[in-house]
């Protein structure tokens, strides 16, 4: 049973000159924690706005909880919770007033669904008389989540909920999402942070309005076609430049402490050749080792593949 289904959804802006969402098809299972992973401008927010009935698609069909986003938008609005990327509650109303207000708009009360938001709400309850605009970033986000949950939605859409939030609060936030999932709520979340992808059950990698891959995070990594090597030396920026000049290098990207590279020929001989090549370029303390790819590596690899496919 799918709770969210997109079938060849297309959305363009500026009179068709800018394609934001390009024939996207995907489905989210009931009770799943689904991640939409992609950089800024990939079309994540447009997809969310189409699914929350704020934007009309230019082509294709989409449904949420079995209801069509265009025809049955009124029903959908009763069943989904949406937390936009930008904090959009009333800054001049207090925490409690905001929550009360949205509860009323959904025709319910805080008391009725208190059990659902309790765990999150207790953290901001000490500040319930404070204006929402005066809350810290993490607390604003918790309040926004409470407001999105107050009517016990069946599907929850979270658009970049962790953007601009500190590491500790981000971790807490994902914990909260897991607990919500255990209550049977389908959650669709978008994020530009690749490291958060592994926290989802399934992910869709999206770039320039196109889906690159839909799978579980483990499978996305397993599908990485080559061996990935990590390499470092004392002069990292020079190393990156010299690596790109080496004949057998397929891809080469800076990745924290190491550079991640793939080779067109993975034999030991080539690896040895690479080392001697680098030594000839005056690099010292060269470390070359095999490593497991991350979602980010997969994303870059898929992105390059697609670009190559397009140019052909």
């Amino acid at each position: 049973m799918h709770d969210v289904v997109l079938d060849k959804i297309r959305k363009t802006y500026n009179k068709n000159s800018l394609v934001a969402v390009d024939n996207v098809s995907l489905s989210v299972n009931k009770g799943e924690l689904f991640g939409l992973i992609g950089p800024d401008g990939a079309g994540k927010t447009s997809i969310f706005r189409i699914l929350t009935t704020l934007l009309l698609p230019d082509g294709g069909n989409a449904s949420v909880s079995g209801y069509d986003v265009v025809k049955d938008y009124k029903i959908i609005r009763n069943h989904v919770g949406y937390m936009p990327g930008r904090f959009s509650l009333y800054q001049d109303l207090s925490v409690e007033e905001n929550l009360n207000f949205f509860a009323t708009l959904f025709g319910t009360t805080i008391k009725e669904n208190y059990d659902l938001i309790k765990e999150i709400y207790v953290q901001i309850e000490p500040f319930k008389t404070r204006r929402a605009g005066k809350l810290s970033g993490g607390m604003k986000q918790k309040l926004a989540l409470c407001c999105a949950l107050i009517h016990r939605p069946t599907v929850l859409f979270l658009d970049e909920p962790t953007t601009g939030v500190d590491t500790v609060s981000r971790k807490e936030f994902w914990e909260m999402l897991k607990r919500l999932k255990s209550q049977g709520i389908t959650i669709m979340v978008s994020t530009p942070y690749m490291d958060e992808a592994t926290l989802c059950e399934r992910i869709a990698l999206i770039q320039s309005g196109k889906i690159l891959s839909i799978n579980t995070p483990a499978n996305v990594i397993a599908q990485f076609p080559q061996n990935l090597f990590a390499i470092k030396s004392t002069n990292m920026s020079g190393l990156l430049k010299d690596l790109r000049d080496f004949g057998n290098i397929e891809s080469c990207n800076a990745f924290g402490e190491y550079h991640h590279i793939t080779l067109s020929d993975e034999s030991d001989a080539t690896q040895h050749e690479l080392k001697t090549y680098l030594e000839s370029k005056q690099h010292e303390n060269i470390v070359l080792q095999s490593t497991t790819p991350t979602i980010e590596d997969c994303f870059i690899q898929l992105m390059n593949n697609q670009d190559g496919g397009n140019s052909n």
Binding site: R77, V80, L89, Y90, F102, G107, C147
Partner: protein, 373 residues
């Protein structure tokens, strides 16, 4: 109903918490009502006059003191040559020059006739016209005084004369503020309605809260009513304070017409103007845009409403604009009801027209609101 109640409660809370907007809504109209009628006054006073007296006789002195005592003129300069006086006009120190010739007194008595010369600085046309007219009138009075002094009163007038008796209706003492205050009050209510309402809705767009509202199952008419009703109430309140507080206590204007029909008209008028505010808000995404559009309309509404200048003396094309301006009708109704004591039957056409405006603005706004969301 419960949703609407909550929407209204939220709206009023936000308005009363907005520390910068609250005074704008409630205090500024009162201050404007106190200041504007005093400044927007067409009575010309304090006309600076230069007098060139070549005669220095008791008669010329009498004329000068009569002019100064009238209260309209201020003696800025008393000189011996016209060139000196004209210099004062050039320096903008005086608006008028009155030249009294040599032997003014002697010739007036001996030859029964004498000439005076008046030069007027006509850059400010209104002031020049009125100043010249006042001065002519004063000199005629002075002339009559002298005639009664010298001519023996006769039993019958030698020549038939027409006596004119006039009385001022509706504004007995020609008090200018009686004319201005109701008009300015009408305009201020317009400002509160159209400006505040459009800014308020656009603010929700700008801050992004409208997104969050739009994903809820809230009904469109609830949302719109929730926005219009607070400003309707505020408009009513500001109007009442202006009419009974400032108008009555400060200016002593006691409305003599039917309050019922005035308020009935106001309620309808506010609906029309709030519709305009709603319309502006559907066309703008930021408060700055809304402000600019609203300001454009307000300027036209203000200048083409007959508030300061009579619509009857406008050119034909301007009359058409004035007739398309809802403020025109409200100012007319205000003056009719407050000063003339008009009742419902006198303003029934105004009712119809404003009803049309209300349907037009609100209808257009709702159509456009649907299209964009």
């Amino acid at each position: 109903m419960r949703t609407l109640k909550f929407l209204l409660r939220k709206e009023f809370r936000q308005i009363f918490r907005n520390k910068s907007l609250l005074p704008v809504i409630f205090v500024m109209p009162i201050i404007q009502l106190l200041i504007m009628p005093l400044a927007a006054d067409y009575e010309v006073k304090n006309i600076n006059i230069s007098i060139v007296d070549h005669d220095h006789s008791p008669y010329s002195q009498k004329l000068i003191s009569k002019i100064i005592a009238s209260g309209y003129f201020r003696l800025s300069d008393y000189s011996n040559s016209f060139n000196q006086a004209f210099e004062q006009i050039e320096k903008d120190n005086s608006d008028l020059v009155l030249e009294i010739p040599k032997d003014f007194e002697r010739n007036l008595i001996r030859e029964n006739t004498q000439q005076l010369y008046i030069a007027v600085n006509a850059i400010n046309g209104t002031k020049a016209n009125l100043g010249g007219a006042y001065l002519n009138r004063l000199i005629q009075d002075y002339n009559a005084d002298i005639r009664t002094e010298w001519i023996q009163p006769q039993r019958y007038n030698a020549s038939p004369t027409i006596q004119i008796a006039s009385s001022n209706w509706f504004n007995t003492y020609l008090n200018y503020s009686f004319f201005m205050v109701p008009g300015i009050l009408a305009f201020l209510v317009t400002m509160v309605g159209a400006y505040m309402c459009s800014l308020n809705i656009v603010k929700e767009k700008e801050v992004g809260t409208i997104e969050q509202i739009n994903v809820t199952p809230i009904k469109k008419h609830h949302f719109i009513l929730g926005k219009l009703i607070p400003f309707w109430v505020i408009g009513m309140f500001v109007f009442s304070v202006g009419l009974f507080g400032v108008g009555r206590l400060v200016y002593g204007i006691v409305p003599i017409g039917s309050m019922g029909s005035l308020y009935a008209f106001l309620s309808l008028y506010l609906i029309a103007l709030l519709g305009l505010g709603l319309l502006i808000s559907t066309y703008s995404d930021t408060q700055q845009q809304a402000m600019s559009i609203a300001f454009f309309f307000m300027m036209i509404f203000l200048l083409m409403s007959g508030l300061f200048t009579s619509i009857d003396s406008m050119p034909e094309w301007a009359k058409v604009i004035a007739q398309l301006n809802p403020v025109t009708y409200f100012i007319e109704v205000m003056r009719m009801v407050v000063l003339k004591g008009s009742g419902f039957s006198d303003i029934k056409y105004h009712f119809l027209i404003i009803c049309g405006f209300a349907i037009f603005f609100n209808g257009w706004a709702i159509l456009n609101y649907k299209k964009t969301s």
